[in-house]
Symmetry: D2
Subunit: 349 residues, 4 copies
């Protein structure tokens, strides 16, 4: 941490800051310039260094943090890529994973038919929400446990592992019975109770970026999960909120190489939410892979005009298949491959 | 709802949209221009009109909603101001309420001493967090139930009602034993499980705006609470996230008159979070009242340099007292008064 | 300036940075911690310190600037408030100035009649655009020099000084013949050629904040004007662009106390553009004064439904008069007064 | 245009709106629902339909525009891609063009040496600023006409056409003597005087998106140029300003497919400004091409640590060469090729 004193800070106020640093258990190094005095804070101590407290002291102009607050998510301390196994599919290795499926599980037939379509098109995992966070209390809120059962049936038939959202810690006892991956949605990225709770499960977590969360805040949210012992966190960029209204969100593709540099965790890109309009999803899916994403998560619906949610941004199975084929070509151009779905599980004997 | 057809939409696609409208139970009114065909959708039906589904239909250029999705929060249907009683203090009436207190309850002594200071300065309610949402898992997370007990003790001594944050539905059985007002924090403004849960309590709710939530989304979140039967919701503007980094957030003071127009619910302003720096808090408090806010919620700390959280934006009791005095003058200028704290409850016989 | 070296920076890269600092003519102070090495750069030298160049050096984690780049606008070096005389009206002193007038000068009759209405309501200066920056090339672009002549006639009759926009340096020879204040619009806040050109005139400048400009960038733009010798710059907050669509812009009222702290230049607030809807203009005008603004600039139109531009945000003269009266009460509450218009100039003796 | 009347609009106010529509020369179609009355405005008339005026009328809830205000830039009316010839290089056709060069022309030697390096790496045009818009009046402002002469010399030697910025209409007589492409910078995207002036030249224009401009505003700015008769406009996405501070700007890659859909003009992507850090430039360049951009413009500096501007985001020639090679692979994956530089012009006999 660095404390910059005000232009006209009295000697006594400088001494007070130095005393506080020392009483917090750190060392203070002064650089005295003509215009400003800078105090470098170094060393280690059990007392946390609260930037805000130093900012509040008399004579202090500003306080600059140096080291990142996330340790477990930080690539500096864990240089090797984390690879995560979701029901036999590895995310974070060279081969790229494509996850497809509807926004909501709408019926047993819908999810099973979609799962087959996703698999035939080349998807290796199935997404689908049984508990749906909806802006309006009057919108469809999901089929809850029935939805989970239908997802499980789709998995049983197709072999595709399941990614499904958890909205509240209290849902975990049920959801963990069915899910292969727990999705934490954008609106819950800073629901710290939920983050801690999923951190105590053994399931991989897909953590979506909050719509106005900085990359650092997203890394801190991953840290909440990691700190509870669950090391299988995937970072999902899904677009951020900006002034632009032509698309539902603004894809922050910059975040992909930034995250790959700062953390060892796999990076997933969601071009469906990041654009909000199906006609732009493929272009963005290709861009995400070109920029270095490890996986894609794509909304697929058998009949978007009838979808109970997110119809505007859902691909038909046919368009999804075309996307997968084109992603394969981009993957090759960046020396990667695309995972292909496992053969259907045969039911024994 | 209005459906605008594309410039080159075929007659058949127009007929398809009309059919869908009719099969959803509504009437379609066509306005056929040289360049565009516009279809007005009117009438009522049990089938929800899903804007997204119509947007996905062939030939559709765009779909525009007309009526607001929030009904219970909507002033159109409830013109009279809602007035909320929090432990004897009325919020939403002519007199302005000023709520003060620390970000976190740090100790029994701290909260009791602060409560007295808030009251002496003219505050009519006490804020203080026992459960703290913190960006970092390594930061102080609050004293939990002990914090609540100390708050209750402060109330008992001073008579000030208590505003305290609930982070998760599972905390409600405990928090409702102590709190006078349940605060839903900015990061939880779209935690729909939590919104529904506080909607099932009988306590007034202070709903803080999410840092990138639109005013409409905030109204929809209030609607979640109201729809569960709890009609005592206060709308709290606390700054939004923008590109400006000179202050912690950007105060969206526009939101105050907008909310007063659109909803009958009281509007509270939090200049502490909206600026993030104590030196700007007073100016913004005055601005908020001048713009029409019904109440202020202000962070007050006995010693901001030692605060365990939010020290940078906390006022000392002395500065808080000056703020209250200046707010009184602004209130008068807009033909309002400022509530004064009730006399200390006498424990007597 | 402070250079923070990377966690694993080799000793040689640290020595290289120190050498560069010394060869640029500054002194380097090292603070060596367990995890990071911090290099404080102090002293003075004719060679500019380019933060970006140091950022590009091997082993450098980040570079933090300490001193502000604006000198002439900086209150640190010029503590006393700057007071600006615009045609006899002083801006930046205790009394608050209210400027009113239409977005565009539409006709001779319109501007003269509006000037009288502004004056009767209590306005002390007249705004009106003769050269209009319009988003569409097909919209009304202003009456150019005719507009200026009509403005001058309005001034002659009413005595109100004139604030009018200059869009391009080439317009200055004409506009300076008529204007009392040169307005630099939001879209030109970083038109550096124009800034330098108005800096070479002797007229006061009203500098509007760019819709996505930071407060620091705005101060740097003021510095461009000041550096050319023109010390009469007014800083005008007019709302910034955010994700919120309920209002045309988001009023950054925080910017008012921030600017008052950082610069000695007067601060003007424009609630018309900052909200974009006339029904919110008064509430924001009051808020701006409560927060410390020295002046208001308000759009007034005789008949907003017929306005050739900005009708949606224009007040009628009657509503403007009410605003002035209410501003007077707020001004009093913050120990200020409101300037009243001078008596009509009598023609001759 | 559609006018939505308020819930409680009186019949007379509805009639007033209809009258105004008719007196403006259009037809009004009413759709009367239980809750709202919608008025569709169709037909053609010489009187412009001012959305704002209708918004200001009594009883009007909101007014929605249907048709886009840009005609010449609109793909609806000009379906075929525009192809632009810049000194023999075609932009907007299947083959992708890569433009490289320094932010500023710093010296004769620098620009000539860089031009050769750009060409050897595979660049087909040279960028370099002779007039530099700088945030600070104290920063290097460019070598002006000398810079242009050195650029011309670089072109003469290497055959690469020149892209250089014009900051003000008054610079055009000089710059047009040297440039092959006129760049309008982000800060000038709504400098309408400049847009009109470059529209009157015969040189192709590279129009950079303003840092907070919407896609629609960018199209309207192109329309300014096109409306003057210059049909050779390239749309350049260069990142927008958001709350994220990890990168200098946020690449709005969504804008690439959106622009390709809405306009026939070529789309250029500038990953240098869009990220602000050289280490992310390549990833974003690949993403931009995968998303459908027609060209890239990249900052290249012989020695970024010594650059007089933008060193932090400049690639060395070696890294630029690697970028070109990788772009070639992505181009192939999307069925495109990459233009290769023409052989050096021989100085004939």
């Amino acid at each position: 941490m660095i404390v910059v004193m005000k232009h006209d800070a009295a000697d006594q106020t400088i001494r007070d800051v130095v005393s506080r640093i020392e009483s917090d258990g750190y060392q203070a190094h002064l650089s005295q310039g003509a215009a400003y005095t800078i105090i470098g804070v170094v060393g280690e101590s059990p007392t946390p260094l609260r930037q805000e407290n130093y900012s509040s002291m008399e004579g202090v102009e500003k306080v600059v943090r140096i080291s990142e607050s996330y340790k477990l998510a930080n690539r500096t301390f864990h240089p090797a890529d984390t690879k995560i196994n979701i029901g036999g599919v590895i995310i974070g290795d060279n081969p790229i994973a494509i996850i497809g499926g509807p926004c909501s599980v709408e019926s047993r037939e819908q999810i099973i038919e979609t799962a087959w379509a996703v698999k035939e098109a080349g998807g290796v995992a199935l997404r689908g929400g049984a508990y749906k966070p909806r802006t309006s209390p009057y919108s469809f809120q999901g089929h809850a446990e029935n939805g989970l059962k239908w997802l499980a049936e789709a998995r049983e038939q197709t072999g595709l592992p399941i990614v499904t959202e958890v909205m509240d810690a209290a849902q975990l006892p049920i959801i963990t019975q069915y899910a292969d991956v727990l999705q934490v949605g954008a609106r819950n990225m800073q629901n710290f109770t939920l983050l801690s709770a999923v951190g105590q499960t053994e399931l991989p977590v897909l953590l979506k970026r909050g719509m106005s969360a900085t990359i650092k805040e997203m890394l801190m949210s991953a840290e909440y999960i990691l700190a509870q012992g669950n090391r299988n966190v995937m970072m999902c960029e899904r677009g951020i909120r900006t002034f632009e209204t032509e698309t539902r969100n603004t894809s922050d593709i910059n975040a992909i190489p930034v995250l790959k540099e700062k953390t060892h965790l796999p990076v997933v890109f969601d071009p469906s939410h990041a654009t909000g309009k199906w006609e732009y999803v493929e272009a963005l899916a290709l861009a995400g892979i070109a920029a270095g994403a490890d996986a894609l998560i794509i909304e697929v619906h058998l009949n978007p005009e009838q979808a109970m949610s997110d119809g505007r941004q859902s691909l038909t199975p046919k368009k999804f298949q075309q996307l997968v084929e084109r992603v394969q070509r981009i993957a090759e151009a960046v020396n990667r491959t695309v995972l292909t779905p496992a053969p259907v599980p045969t039911s024994g004997d």
